[in-house]
Symmetry: C2
Subunit: 363 residues, 2 copies
């Protein structure tokens, strides 16, 4: 039985990308690596529609979220955390772990954050130094209206730092970083980028560099200043995940050839297959339609069906690997990942399998 | 021209290990990954001759050095950093970055640390909370006599924390962690383990866990408490470098089949080929013979020869990739890596190439 890996990362990779990941090692401080990282950094900047600095670190998405915080803030700094789910909460937890004073603006799960509420929170406390915000909340299948949120933030506080978790959106959903005037944006290789996990990407703008000069949170491994110094020599500060760099080389060629607008359009089309398919089965999305994500769909487990068992049956009997719900959503939703190297047929196959599996589970 | 990658990591990997690294992605929170990480953790503990807890993190060696520190110490804690090279210095820099008060005991580069000097430093300041020490100093080709150092430390301070950078030694040079009563020991996948970079390993003993309860340095990504919670469920806290886990599966089988004592013996034999070969060319080791490392040989660039050019010629004309000297040793030494998947012939080929290259460079 072939496996249809439909979790929101790690996502399946094209065969030739995987083959490249199996290449023999090279010197990570030699000329071949230097050419590779220079080329990839430049291609990634273009695909991310940004002129900001761009750093590749060997870590997961959580690691680059930590990088966003520790490179721009000091202990005691007040920050506003706009959270609509598990990963939004995590962003605030990281800031707290490093001594920031976090005001949480928690939105209802399944809905997007309200730009005007964010603006009011900023008006209520003029000492806030930064806003932490999730672009695409993987735990609830919600894409925040980040353009509107950023506009509301800038209206009230033109110079506040905006730190964005775009782990499951960048490269898959439109996110014009410079146009929206975002300061730090992070993502990770195993999401939209069609390569295995191990690399985190950090977009770091001029306002973030100004903040870096004063930021007193301790940092070493995730220090963007060190990343900058080494990148100038064609290196990463610490030994990188060379294999994934090899894969990224091919993946970026494919993404470039497709074109970023076409990639966004493909993700939207595939997501529509998921949304319409779910509805055709009489199921409901967990998220509001108006903010339903183009990279992951969260679906309510229907009354009377065991959500954990559903995920198990889908895997064992249909070869479809879905994600369950996290924390309080465990058993209550299941999630279909549709980002990266994904096409309509991959998601249609999930719907077809659900159509067979659900009745056997009492639906 | 085939390439003979002879830097002290990333080290070459066996073909089937590389092929495994090219496997398609799986769910890192699913049953297959759970079985894999449980099996690998147990095998690694055996190969590392330890009953201490063992955690695999997606990062480089520097990342797990940071993990050793932030999980056991608090800002303001006094620590003794025993350094005999670049990586020893780095260990102290990480501790300083997180607010430790670091007393540096700097030994002459090329020599090992003196156990009695370490003991005296501990006697001189009874408030020291931890000793940071490098087992194998990659920058100078020195293996510290860690057993004697640990014994001297325990004589003076039976309960002080001993944090060990064994990045380029564990799994290649004898390091009986429990017998030597070491508290935290770290290494990384691209060194002795015959797999690509991306994974750091953390050995964490009972005294370290006691320290963890009080340790107030901020941490999130590198939190071993989170690693422990997730490992109990067969997971890593954050999305891991799945590809390298696939490779590690095969590499551990090979290492087990060879047997740890045979692996140590092989590294010693291969290192002898390097040391005798270098001498046969009339060259000198940078390190004292008594502490010359079995995983990396540092060799003095002979008078009149351009060390940077030598490394270039070896690479371009002979396909031999050597490492140069770091920081103040740049151009003054070159280094031959001989750890991991390495045999006598690999190092003999380096000597043979040097025999041709050196005379052309004025030697």
């Amino acid at each position: 039985m072939s496996v249809n890996l439909r979790i929101p990362g790690p996502t399946p990779c094209p065969e030739d990308v995987l083959e490249a990941c199996g290449r023999q090692m090279i010197n990570h401080r030699g000329p071949e690596f230097a050419e590779m990282i220079a080329r990839q950094t430049s291609k990634l900047q273009k695909l991310c529609q940004t002129k900001h600095d761009f750093y590749i670190m060997t870590t997961s998405g959580t690691g680059v979220m930590e990088a966003a915080i520790v490179n721009t803030l000091s202990p005691g700094d007040k920050v506003l955390n706009v959270s609509v789910g598990v990963f939004g909460d995590r962003f605030g937890q990281i800031a707290e772990a490093y001594g920031a004073k976090v005001t949480s603006l928690k939105g209802e799960w399944g809905k997007g954050a309200d730009p005007e509420e964010v603006a009011r929170a900023l008006e209520a406390d003029r000492e806030l130094k930064a806003v932490l915000v999730t672009h695409n909340e993987t735990s609830t299948g919600v894409t925040n209206k980040l353009g509107e949120i950023a506009k509301a933030i800038r209206r009230v506080r033109p110079d506040i730092l905006i730190l964005v978790d775009a782990i499951s959106s960048l490269g898959a959903i439109a996110l014009p970083i410079d146009e929206w005037d975002l300061d730090v944006v992070v993502t990770a290789s195993q999401k939209g980028w069609m390569v295995p996990p191990a690399l985190g990407f950090v977009v770091f703008g001029p306002r973030a560099w100004q903040a870096y000069e004063k930021a007193a949170m301790p940092r070493f491994y995730f220090d963007v200043g060190k990343a900058k110094d080494y990148l100038q020599r064609g290196q990463t500060a610490w030994t990188p995940a060379v294999s994934v760099f090899f894969g990224l080389e091919l993946a970026l060629d494919k993404l470039e050839a497709e074109g970023i607008e076409n990639i966004f359009a493909r993700h939207h089309r595939v997501a529509e297959v998921a949304r319409q398919g779910v509805k055709s089965l009489g199921l409901e999305l967990f998220s509001d339609e108006s903010v339903a994500s183009d990279t992951v769909s969260a679906v309510k487990v229907p009354e009377g069906v065991d959500g954990v068992k559903l995920v198990k049956v889908m895997r064992e009997e249909h070869g479809v690997v879905l994600a369950g719900g996290q924390t309080t959503l465990a058993g209550k939703i299941f999630r279909i990942g549709h980002l990266g190297w994904v096409f309509e047929a991959d998601v249609q196959a999930v719907i077809d399998a659900l159509r067979v599996a659900l009745p056997k589970l009492g639906y």
